[in-house]
Amino acid sequence: MKVMALTGNEAVAEAMRQINPDVVAAYPITPQTELMHRFTEFVADGLVDTEMVLVESEHSALSATVGASAAGARAMTATSSQGLALMWEILYIAAGLRLPIVMPVVNRALSAPINIHGDHSDTMGARDSGWIQIFSENAQEAYDNTIIAVRIAEHPDILLPVMVTMDGFIISHTMERVEVLDDDVVKNFIGEYNPKYKLLDVKNPVTMGPLDLQDYYFEHKRAQAEAMENAYKLIKEIDEEYYKISGRRYSYVEPYEIDDADIILISLGSTAGTIKDVVDELRLKGLKVGGLKIRVYRPFPRDEIKEFLSNASVVGVMDRAIAFGSPCGPVCLDVKASLQGTSLSNLPIVNYIYGLGGRDITPKDIIKIFNELEKVRISGEVPNLPRYVGVRGEENYIEQKAKLKIKN
């Protein structure tokens, strides 16, 4: 093990160097560019055996990765924002073909208007595409999650592609202290990739992606849904194995100061780190607050959510994306769905949409959120619609509505 000063992008490139994929196909897009820049340096310097395929778009990047994976190679790519949007068609194909591709996604806002900074709109849109999604709080987690993802994707009872995300710029371009495992430790952990079916295995010819009509398509989709369920069962075993080689224990969710907490704030990615700081600060003042970070977003950790919210009086859910036309943001929707029909059905939940297009979310903003949740706890009055945090004009808007006696 060695300690290095790395940005999130560099940490993931370092993980990719150690994974040493057979094929990587990629197209540059901010803020992922630096990640692939670093990795192609490793290729040029002969530090990996990877066949690096430089393509003309992200549609082609994922298509080439799918082809390589179907041929029997351990294949990876990485992207952000519009790049992920352009991959859309192939996302579903990679998942439907059950190809264990690992793809780091550096989260960035979606156009229009054009914006290169971090929010979760890109991966949230792909949340039901059949990919496993793991969110990282910092560079260390991005590194660890990338290595763990290889084992998750390739597990014979899972065989699903995995996105490992980190917040654009906030993590991808911030230099942090990262503990990097020894190369051979990673090599042993991920092991050899021995797929059951390979297109290049001419002695055992197979057809992949054939026409599948009314008589079988549904059965194949049902099997794919079960693979997600298997992932939900098995990820913890792989995390446990990773703990043994790294000393870092990961789980589907990470509770913070939650045992006696009345107010719990749920979040994903880098914001979870800020929330921990604010929780510490407010605890010093005697407030019983806690944080709950979702690390594995797909499959959604429905049981853990129930378990960790069971003693809460009020819950806030942070969404760094809007689900336009939906009653609330994507994370909030999943949290509410997990509690529906349980003894926690009536737990007051407030949704906070924040940080779009890289808008800063400061400790001050989070203190305000906790204060508002405290008011909800006392008054029992729960806003139905999401609150937009840190957007100019929102307070005037709410005031206006209150004057008109419109409940929201």
Partner: protein, 96 residues
């Protein structure tokens, strides 16, 4: 098609791991028009056999003997390519 399999009995990712098993997939029911042969006009040039995309022209000892109606999708290519001087294949509406 033989007995349909259950979802947990299938190879992962809809892979077909048995080469040539398309023969088990009967596509004859897709037909709207069916090719009918007038053997008296046919000179066994076998152009239709070369063009048929579904391997549904049955040939024995170098002679055209008929169609595999279990797989023929009724595309009409055989009738189209049969040379003008023969025009031995007519496409007729399936359920008349």
């Amino acid at each position: 098609m033989n007995e349909l399999k259950k979802w947990f009995e299938l190879p992962v990712g809809a892979v077909i791991d048995e080469p040539g098993n398309a023969i088990k997939y009967k596509t004859g029911s897709w037909r709207t028009f069916k090719p009918v042969l007038d053997k008296s006009k046919c000179n066994d040039c076998l152009i239709c056999w070369i063009y048929c995309p579904d391997n549904s022209i049955i040939v024995q000892d170098g002679k055209l003997i008929g169609f595999d109606y279990e797989h023929c999708k009724g595309c009409g290519i055989c009738a189209e390519v049969c040379p003008d001087k023969s025009k031995a294949i007519t496409m007729v509406l399936e359920h008349q």
